[in-house]
């Protein structure tokens, strides 16, 4: 339960003052949407239930892995429209960080594939964290969270960044105080959680944010059109790339398995750390299994073209380099002292992919882009702070608020 350093508090105060003085405190939203986000049907009991053409297909052992026409893993759905919309306000509200400078969206921005375009994310006060921000698209289907797979629900996951001193730096007490102290939020929580008396609870806050995150569905890419049977959806080059992707030479699809393009397992692939950084033990630490030293959760590749740089700490700037990593030899990038103590995944080998094959893989990966259901950023959030707060550098110049990035 870390408290933000006093210098940050001072800066937060400055920021807040600036926001107030520039008149950004527009009228706070008083209503929550009564309809579901796209991709969901409002059913009896005010539940938003996921609908997708993938529900026309089965999957072996209900595992949600297979080929083009395979059913998805079971999804987290059934939230109310109001809970989802409340979660959207919370997600974009910098009120959730210790110094009110950043929101969830500062590292998971909708215009950057719900990531931040950075090799490693930056928390309050410019603190760099150890790993990259994973995309949030399709998290409704995931069974574990974080690069090292240490959380098994969205609620469990979000307390990490919310309270980590290097990330949002808040605390349960601060969160309850700030949200509970905001009349608009109090009213909105009453709407989203009918029958609930008293101020918003932590569980309700987490649940609402999870509701919003679980509404981020991307299943209508050009690849999906191909999968559903329209074979003209992909160009010849892209089809070649698809066949390389699923061949047992490149073996991409063995771990990035359709339809989600992840098999949700932890894999040790021997990615280098950029800039001479020390090895990240990954899932070894969180699982206690030495066989998972340097192991990370296989990420989904949906919308992957939107989320450069790649890998857990941004070792590769572009997809071509990321793809090439897999053909440079088993363990080629490991420090000598790690080679004897790491168990590199058996699928990592020397496929000897030709240059044109790597190009085709990149072509194919770009067909996994679909942002048709991208939610809008609220024009205002209940705190009155500027929605999103600090914006990722990739979306433009650094924040121009004087003083924030100095000292």
């Amino acid at each position: 339960m870390s408290k933000a350093p006093s210098s940050l508090r001072a800066r937060a105060g400055l920021l807040l003052a600036l926001v107030l003085s520039t008149g950004a405190l527009a009228e706070a939203p008083a209503q929550l949407r009564e309809y579901c986000p796209p991709g969901f049907e409002l059913t009896d009991g005010n539940r938003c239930e996921l609908r997708t053409l993938y529900q026309n297909y089965d999957s072996l052992q209900y595992a949600g892995v297979g080929g083009p026409r395979t059913g998805l893993p079971s999804a987290r759905d059934g939230f109310s429209p109001q809970q989802i919309d409340l979660g959207r306000y919370l997600f974009f509200d910098p009120l959730l960080s210790a110094d009110n400078s950043i929101s969830c969206a500062s590292c998971h921005h909708p215009d950057l594939g719900f990531s931040d375009g950075r090799a490693r994310s930056v928390g309050i006060g410019g603190a760099e964290v150890r790993r990259a921000a994973p995309s949030l698209w399709n998290v409704a289907f995931l069974q574990s969270f974080f690069w090292d797979a240490r959380a098994d629900s969205l609620e469990q996951q979000m307390v990490g960044p919310l309270y980590d001193a290097k990330e949002m730096g808040s605390s349960p007490e601060q969160l309850l105080a700030e949200i509970g102290g905001n009349a608009t939020y109090r009213a909105l929580f009453r709407v989203a959680f009918p029958g609930s008396e008293g101020p918003p609870t932590l569980e309700q806050i987490y649940y609402s944010i999870a509701a919003f995150q679980a509404s981020l569905i991307s299943l209508n890419s050009r690849y999906d059109r191909y999968a559903h049977g329209y074979h003209d959806a992909l160009t010849d080059n892209e089809k070649q790339g698809m066949n390389i992707f699923r061949s047992f030479v490149a073996r991409c699809a063995e771990c990035h398995t359709p339809p989600l393009f992840t098999n949700q397992q932890v894999a040790v692939i021997g990615v280098p750390e950029p800039d001479g950084r020390r090895l990240d033990e990954g899932a070894e630490t969180t699982s206690g299994n030495p066989g998972l030293r340097g192991g990370f959760k296989v990420p989904s590749l949906r919308n992957i073209a939107k989320t450069a740089p790649y890998m857990h700490s941004g070792a590769f700037d572009n997809l071509r380099d990321a793809a090439e990593f897999y053909t440079l030899g088993r363990g080629h990038a490991l420090p000598e002292e790690e080679k004897p103590r790491m168990t590199v995944h058996w699928h990592i080998w020397e496929p000897e992919l030709a240059d044109h094959e790597l190009d085709r893989l990149v072509d194919f990966l770009a067909t996994l882009t679909d942002e048709a259901f991208k939610p809008g950023i609220p024009a205002t959030v209940p705190s009155g702070l500027a929605p999103v707060g600090v914006i990722p550098e990739a979306l433009g110049p650094k924040p121009t608020i004087a003083g924030l990035n100095e000292t």
Binding site: R51, N56, L60, G67, T70, Y230, D232, F248, V249, N263
Partner: protein, 498 residues
């Protein structure tokens, strides 16, 4: 003596004359049907024909592909139900089948085969994801990855193929339910020649596999029968595995019976880091963590390290434990097998275990690690190590189980038009259309007022839209949805209420 010789000469002369006469004057007898179709009809066993629920239906058009043509072009033109006949010639391509019910059938003419040739440059010969696929009568050679790889296709039939040095695997169905692999010959594969991964209800029968690292592997799969195969001169013969770290984490109910598992002593040329790279050359049957494996009626001879090896994950090399997978081999049943001359030149680890148990002679069956509720029918018949915990099997045969293939093909489910329409409407259309809110496209309410009882009008419009409204962008065509999905979506759109 002389008379006898003369008789023989005369007899031969008559025989030759008969052949000449027979060839010259008998004509082409192929039109004559010899033997009644019912001659053996009672002998097919209680399970009926193995092929009854697998493979393509062959109810559609026949497409002929000849030397110089592209097989893939025929696949692209084919509709479900069609047959693609491939005539002798050399085909250097990767064929991928992402549609259902297609038969890829080689035609062998005067002993000449259609050959798919990868030149060690192409990755895979045949990739399929469709259901009800048949791949048969092909010679497939020199690919880098696989001869035939299936991803999530159910009801597959892969038979009568001659597969030579196709890289990592020969025949590799993954994520499939209900499949038959029969009468294939595979050699020179650097991992498993026949590799069934993460699948259910599989039958592998009457194949010859030799000169591979692994002959036949059943991995993270359930309800499989491996029978009547000739498995020789591989590094390891037949493997039944749970490989950790995969999304489907169980293997159980495997019957390995009536196979010839002979002289599997080929030096291991597996890819470094692969699971099979750790298999000692000279292994007959290897069960790693698979449960309910029954081994019956096999002829297991000349495998120099061990005839049957049962192990768990803790004692296996190259394996990272997976908390989601049970690491031990439980409920193993070793029924009567013909075992001879195995374990004659074994590895130090087995020698050490022998010493520990004070066993003399060559070990034919070894178990390492805990193995709950396992049994052997006749423990005194073989030299064994590590089988003290095994009980005596209360059953002697699996004969009553003729196959685990399904009576009806898997996933032939009908989807109600309303569900189809609902999934398309919310899953696709809702990206631009909301019931009563202006989004990218006009609200559904307005569309309902416009089209009323005319779903076909919507189908026609969304198939090739034109710009209609100044205040909205032109709609992109939705022709990538099939005609029936478009109609179902239109019908649903006209009756949705919120």
């Amino acid at each position: 003596m002389g008379k006898k010789l003369l008789q023989i000469i005369v007899a031969i002369a008559l025989l030759v004359a008969g052949i000449v006469v027979g060839t010259k004057f008998a004509g082409d007898n192929r039109a004559t049907v010899v033997g009644d179709a019912s001659r053996y009809s009672n002998a097919t066993g209680s399970g009926g024909l193995l092929t009854r629920s697998v493979g393509g239906s062959s109810t559609g058009t026949v497409h002929d592909v000849r030397d110089g043509n592209s097989i893939q072009a025929a696949v692209a033109a084919a509709e479900p139900g069609d047959v693609i006949r491939i005539f002798p010639g050399t085909y250097t391509e990767t064929v991928y089948i992402d549609k259902d019910d297609i038969v890829l059938s080689g035609v062998v003419v005067n002993g000449q085969w259609p050959v798919m040739e990868g030149n060690k440059e192409l990755n895979d010969a045949v990739l399929y994801s469709g259901n009800d696929i048949t791949v048969e009568n092909l010679q497939i050679q020199h690919y880098k990855g696989n001869a035939v790889m299936g991803q999530a296709g159910n009801n597959f039939l892969i038979r009568n193929n001659n597969i030579i040095d196709t890289g990592v695997y020969g025949i590799f169905p993954e994520f499939g339910t209900n499949g038959l692999i029969t009468h294939n010959v595979l050699s020179g594969i650097e991992d498993a020649a026949i590799y069934v991964g993460m699948s259910d209800n599989i039958h592998v029968t009457n194949n010859e596999v030799f000169d591979n690292v692994a002959g036949i592997e059943i991995e993270n799969s359930r309800h499989s029968i491996v029978e009547n195969n000739y498995v020789h001169d591989n590094t390891g013969g037949i493997l039944v595995f749970i490989t950790p770290g995969l999304p489907i984490k169980t293997t159980f109910d495997t019957i390995v019976r009536n196979n010839f598992i002979v002289n599997n002593n080929t030096p291991n040329f597996g890819i470094p880091g692969s699971t099979v790279a750790g298999i000692p050359a000279g292994t007959g049957i290897l069960n790693m963590a698979g449960d309910q494996t029954t081994i019956e009626g096999n002829v297991i001879t000349g495998n120099k390290v061990i005839g049957i090896l049962i192990t768990d994950h803790m004692n296996a090399p190259n394996v990272t434990l997976d908390p989601g997978a049970d690491p031990s081999s439980d409920e193993i049943a070793i029924l009567d097998n013909m075992m001879w001359n195995n374990g004659y030149d074994t590895i130090p680890e087995i020698k050490a275990l022998k010493t520990l148990e004070l066993v003399d002679g060559n070990v034919e069956i070894l178990n390492v690690g805990a193995s709950a509720n396992s049994c052997i029918l006749d423990p005194d018949k073989y030299i064994t190590v590590g089988l003290k915990s095994f009980g005596t099997c209360g059953f002697a045969t699996t004969a009553d189980v003729s196959t685990y293939l399904l009576d009806e093909p898997a996933q032939r489910r009908e989807i109600a038009a309303e569900d189809m329409g609902k999934r398309a409407y919310y899953g696709v259309c809702a990206g631009c259309h909301s019931y009563n809110i202006k989004m990218v496209g006009p609200p559904t309410q307005i569309i309902q007022a416009l089209y009323m009882d005319n779903p076909q009008g919507i189908v026609d419009y969304i198939t090739s839209p034109t710009k209609k409204r100044d205040d909205y962008p032109e709609m992109p065509p939705q022709n990538y949805l099939s005609e029936d999905v478009r109609m179902a979506a239109a019908e649903f759109m006209l009756q949705v209420k919120q």
